[in-house]
Symmetry: C2
Subunit: 195 residues, 2 copies
Amino acid sequence: MAGSAKPVDPRLTKDAILRTALRIVDAHGIDGLSMRKLAAELGVNPMSLYHHVANKAAVVNGITRLVTDGARDIAVGPGRWPDQLRQLAYAFRALSLAHPHLMRHAFTGDDFIQRRGPMWQALCDVLRTAGLPEAEVEQTGAVLTVLVGGLLLTEVNGTMRRLIGADAADDAGFALAVDLLINGIATRVSRTDMI
Amino acid sequence: MAGSAKPVDPRLTKDAILRTALRIVDAHGIDGLSMRKLAAELGVNPMSLYHHVANKAAVVNGITRLVTDGARDIAVGPGRWPDQLRQLAYAFRALSLAHPHLMRHAFTGDDFIQRRGPMWQALCDVLRTAGLPEAEVEQTGAVLTVLVGGLLLTEVNGTMRRLIGADAADDAGFALAVDLLINGIATRVSRTDMI
DNA sequence: ACCTGAACACCGTTCAAGT
DNA sequence: ACCTGAACACCGTTCAAGT
């Protein structure tokens, strides 16, 4: 009656495959990941992988999901809306900096930023409580998300650090950018209020 | 006395190589470019290329330069500083949309946005005339550049179009983002004035 | 059902031998 | 000086033959 009829190779679990792949990407970048190296790291025949994952693209997609799922428990605390926006921006940043190599690749792709997901919902909620008219919430949320996403890409790929030639350039640049965006939203909110 | 002693193969000019490579990238994306296909397109032996370009990275770097050099003649017209900032943003956008595949790759790399170049100078000049204190000009210029760069990446890779499910999503998103940034700058400028 | 060796169609790059 | 065939060290993926 026990369901343990067929002993499965623990190295060929989808979970084991993806976690090993993520470890490789974190250590050696996206170009350091190949199906053959992944198999070697698992101590497994390269061809066996294709019985458990469709192809390399599925592996990369899988580890991206793995990481973004780690952000499911994002929740904004109480406070003024600018502080809440700041919280979300820095949560997004923490996610990126935890896996810079992966993020550098994910931002380039077209399926990384998802409408679903707690980040998007939380952001739109904050914008509503800030007083942004409902008709502008979705579009503004999208624009804010891609702006911060692009900002994080330039931090992760070193552009920001190179443009601002200073210690802690990334911290300063990110803080300045977030302030700029919050000020931009504030203008829009108050202007709408005045009409 | 005429310098035309050795007839050089016109297909193996650095210029011909780069322009053909750019044509391939524009048509088939970065992944559609290989040294072997480039040689085939030129009607030339693949190995001959290595006598005129160092490697594939040099080719990609070369076509990136080729495109960005096309923006040398960027100049802001007269007007209020918000309109001037808008001009620069849209000039940057035109550059991106002219070669979306290349830009999608270039933004990912860490050496695309250059401190040198007319774009950077023009941007900093506008920020100065807007009344931003000299100490903040460089950093703000850098942040604005990477924000707009990231914005263009999401337009070029389709993220913006997917997040905003509407016709002309790219145009609307870009316009909204630029307004947001200009409002953010305006707040910073006027606040500084008031101190 | 799962594994796997061989094979296919590609890569970038080097290098010795040619002219 | 420039060209080029062969070769090396890689890829992702397929597939028939095994268990």
